[in-house]
């Protein structure tokens, strides 16, 4: 009766065995490797991005007045500034861009509207002033081609249509100097 209810009888132990050295050595090595990995990974900043020069994707976009502009038709260096009316830092950097555009007539400035309404943009430029064309990118394909992740973002492209410099965030005079030097 009770044989059915108790677990199978255990045989007398042949030998107890000793510490499992194989496990300790292999396990120890694995742990060291694992911890090293986490330590190294922890030391890295996940936010850094590295900039490399590359050819500027061509673009062919209409500006607010209806005129079509093509990047490959430009024979001057180009400054491409992505912006939107809902972006506060964009409005802050606007005067800097205006000033540089008039200071350097040998560089073509373009604004590119990002996720925004052309009528709103026009209204804003009427009041804030504008001395270079603002292009419309309704599908966002141009922004994606350039690798734009947010606004404002400014690209400095030389006369051979190579992106020499890009800046995330609003530009100031220092950034403009640096960028323009790279492309003129």
């Amino acid at each position: 009766m009770s044989g059915l209810s108790s677990p199978p009888v255990e045989p007398a132990p042949s030998k107890k065995g000793g510490p499992n050295w194989a496990l300790l050595i292999v396990g120890g090595a694995a742990i060291l490797g694992f911890l090293g990995l986490l330590a190294v990974g922890f030391g890295e900043d996940p936010e850094e991005t590295v900039f490399t020069e590359r050819p500027a994707p061509d673009l062919e976009l209409e500006d607010l007045a209806g005129k079509v502009h093509k990047l490959s038709d430009q024979d001057k260096p180009v400054v491409l500034n992505f912006w939107a009316t809902w972006c506060v830092p964009c409005k802050a950097e606007h005067p800097v861009l205006l000033q540089n555009a008039s200071l350097y007539p040998d560089v073509q400035f373009f604004g590119v509207l990002y996720g925004d309404n052309p009528a709103k943009a026009q209204a804003y430029l009427n009041s804030a002033g504008s001395n270079y064309p603002t292009l419309m990118d309704p599908s966002g394909a141009t922004a994606a081609a350039y690798g734009v992740t947010g606004v404002p973002e400014t690209f400095f492209i030389d006369a051979d249509q190579v992106i020499r410099f890009r800046h995330n965030g609003p530009v100031n005079m220092n950034v403009m100097d640096h960028g323009l030097k790279a492309i003129r």
């Binding site: 009766m1 009770s2 677990p7 199978p8 255990e10 045989p11 132990p13 042949s14 107890k16 065995g17 000793g18 510490p19 499992n20 050295w21 496990l23 300790l24 396990g27 120890g28 742990i31 694992f34 911890l35 090293g36 990995l37 986490l38 330590a39 190294v40 990974g41 922890f42 890295e44 996940p46 936010e47 309404n117 709103k120």
Partner: protein
């Protein structure tokens, strides 16, 4: 004042843990009765002190005492009360305090339950548990101290907690549920460690170990379910699982714990798989620690990342200590445990359990590799890559279907050597049913490989599990001439563990169906709705009825009203919305979800969800861009998750032990007489 009280309480808790931890280990070694009692007292003290400390923090949050640094960080006068209470775990320091609180509560319960039991095992276990507690109170008292006084001037108001917290009710229950599962894994860890430290492992301890693990496992299942549900209802991308590093961090211990509750049964009944089982028990907690490290250290940029600070290296140090401790225990102490009994053959439940265990661990390892790979590559050559859903789905799907299949085979095989013929007979009905299901689905047009394979395997496992739940009752009814329902109740109340286990298995079946259906057959369409104009989308007619701006203290919501028809039936008006928080630049949408499909059993089991996510509202507010999705049978995912939770809790409940023991002694007396 509040700050001072809080800090003192945490420091006292740290003291209790340190003293109790050492005392526990000493008591285990020396069998000193006094040291044992002291350890229990310290365990209880830890629980009381942390409860008080958490209470003090909640008080400070509720009264908006901005002189406490954590309140200044996450509190705000404009936050509703419920959110304020919940902001305890909205940011790093508070969540560490909360971690400590849950750990302390578990320690207290554990200490209390141990007071009349095996002092050797109990003291080792409680000692280890208290040392873990010491680490967390150390964090809460030092690096991640929420009670520090606010430096400089005390502000009059604060920024409020993370906007994501304020979006939905689920965010209130998801973290505590997850913590209940996650944090309490420390208990099985301590119990496994104590078995190795003591050098012996008996049936009673094994059983308690399994029950505690089941308890943690159940809450972890619930936490994962709620996380997925929240993601689905709140984040607006239409999914519930993205293989995010943080999701993986909670999933991996769930996998090892599941493997554990199965191999531990072999350990209990046959005395086999001891080393393997204990390794799984230790691993579950280690993975929990790894997960906490990943989410708190900033190593991964993810939905949950709380930012950086000195906490990362400290955590890494603690993980290192735990890893080395576990390895030493396994390497140096395992051979002290009783030798194995003889092994059963291939046609046995043990064999299937071993096989599925291997599959679970394989899956855990795959998820671990995928999650850590970006780090590996970066350490190797600096390349920055990411590993996402396509990879994980591709690698995990075959393994999960295999696990599902063997989950169906297991119950048909006996413990010990089985007979291939008999096994075949047992499996005949499930196989036939699943074949019929497969053929029917194929005929109905469901032909994509993985969904079909999943449905067929789910049917197979479903039949086996259902049979285990019902057959004993049917047999009993026949034997005793009882009414079937009565028989079932009698059976269920005496076999809680079994009922719980097979409920959980059925939960897995439901999950599989829900996942395969919703992932395999969902449809997406981006449409623009103009006010007043009906539009046909994916079998439904949608009418954009209007727009409203709702202003609350902490956010402004653009609410759009959309009426949904299926054929002529009006399914009601839903409100996908876009919430703008003062503290966040990007708005966060709240999708509208209705269980809309024709349904089975009337509306009891909706056959699909209609999901509307607001993309853009036109400037004149007369047109709205909406992403429309249908998710077939997704309801089964939530039901499955709840069954896991319920089944697991039921199986973990110890109530029956004393009753069984009484009956056993009675019978033994009868037999011996």
């Amino acid at each position: 004042m509040v700050s001072l009280i809080g800090r003192t309480l945490v420091l006292l808790a740290l003291g209790a843990c340190a003293a109790g931890g050492v005392a526990g280990l000493v008591a285990g070694k020396t069998r000193s009765r006094q040291a044992w009692k002291f350890t229990i007292a310290m365990g209880l003290a830890f629980a009381v002190l942390m409860t008080l400390a958490t209470g003090v923090m909640e008080y400070a949050l509720i009264v908006h005492d901005f002189s406490v640094s954590y309140v200044a960080q996450v509190g705000s006068l404009s936050t509703p009360l419920t959110i304020t209470i919940v902001s305890l775990w909205s940011s790093l320091e508070g969540s560490i305090l909360f971690w400590g609180f849950v750990l302390a509560a578990a320690t207290g319960v554990f200490a209390w339950s141990m007071r009349n039991r095996d002092p050797e095992h109990g003291s080792y276990a409680l000692g280890v548990l208290l040392l873990i507690g010491a680490f967390f109170t150390f964090l809460a008292a030092g690096v991640a101290n929420p009670f520090l006084p606010t430096p400089g001037m005390v502000p009059l108001d604060g920024p409020g907690p993370n906007a994501l917290l304020q979006n939905h009710l689920l965010m209130i229950i998801h973290p505590p549920a997850l913590y209940m599962g996650y944090v309490t894994m420390a208990v099985p860890f301590s119990m496994a460690a104590s078995a190795l430290l003591a050098g012996r492992l008996e049936a009673n301890w094994m059983r308690s170990l399994r029950r505690w693990t089941l308890f943690s496992w159940s809450w972890l299942s619930l936490g994962l379910l709620l996380g997925g549900w929240w993601s689905y209802e709140v984040l607006g991308w239409g999914g519930y699982w993205a293989w995010d590093p943080v999701e993986n961090a909670a999933f991996m211990p769930w996998l090892t714990a599941t493997a554990f509750v199965h191999s531990s049964q072999v350990m209990e009944r046959r005395g086999q798989f001891k080393g393997w089982t204990l390794t799984l028990g230790l691993a579950s907690f280690l993975l929990t620690m790894l997960g906490t490290f990943m989410t708190r250290s900033g190593v991964f940029n993810s939905v949950h990342a709380f930012g950086e600070g000195p906490i990362g290296p400290i955590f890494l140090g603690f993980i290192a200590v735990c890893l080395v401790f576990s390895l030493l225990l396994l390497g140096l102490r395992l051979h002290h445990l009783d030798p194995k009994t003889k092994m059963a053959g291939l046609v046995s439940r043990e064999a299937v359990f071993l096989l599925n265990n291997l599959l679970f661990v394989a899956l855990t390892f795959t998820v671990l590799i995928g999650t850590l790979y970006p780090l590996i590559r970066e350490a190797y050559d600096g390349a920055r890559i990411s590993v996402g859903e396509p990879y994980f789905n591709k690698m995990s799907l075959p393994v999960m279907v295999a696990i599902l299949f063997f989950m169906g085979v297991g119950p048909a095989l006996p413990w010990g050597d089985g007979n291939l013929n008999r096994a075949g007979k047992r499996l005949a009905v499930p196989l036939v049913v699943s074949g019929v299901v497969g053929a029917t689905l194929f005929a109905l047009g469901i032909r994509d490989f993985w969904p079909l394979a999943t449905f067929v395997t789910a049917a197979f496992a479903g039949v086996t599990s259902l049979r285990e739940l019902v057959e004993p009752a049917v047999n009993r009814a026949k034997q005793k001439g009882e009414n079937l329902l009565v028989a079932w109740w009698q059976y269920a109340s005496r076999s809680r563990a079994k009922v719980g286990a097979y409920t959980a298995h059925l939960g897995i079946v439901a999950l599989a169906i829900g996942i395969a259906g919703s992932a395999g057959y969902k449809q997406v369409m981006d449409v623009t709705l103009t006010e007043g104009e009906p539009k046909e989308v994916l079998g439904y007619t949608l009418i954009f009825e209007g727009h409203e701006t709702q202003q609350q203290p902490h956010r402004r919501s653009e609410v759009t009203w959309v009426r949904v028809y299926r054929g002529d039936r009006d399914l009601g008006r839903v409100d996908p919305r876009m919430n703008h928080y003062d503290t966040m630049a990007q708005p966060i949408g709240t999708p509208a979800v209705i269980s809309a499909g024709p349904g089975y059993f009337g509306r009891l089991a909706p056959s699909e969800d209609l999901y509307l996510s607001l993309t853009r509202l036109s400037d004149d507010k007369r047109a709205v861009s909406v992403r429309v999705m249908t998710h077939p049978v997704i309801w089964w995912v939530w039901i499955g998750g709840i069954m896991l939770f319920g089944g697991g809790l039921l199986a973990s409940w110890p109530g029956l032990v004393k009753l069984r023991e009484k009956r056993r002694t009675k019978l033994k007396q009868k037999v011996d007489a």
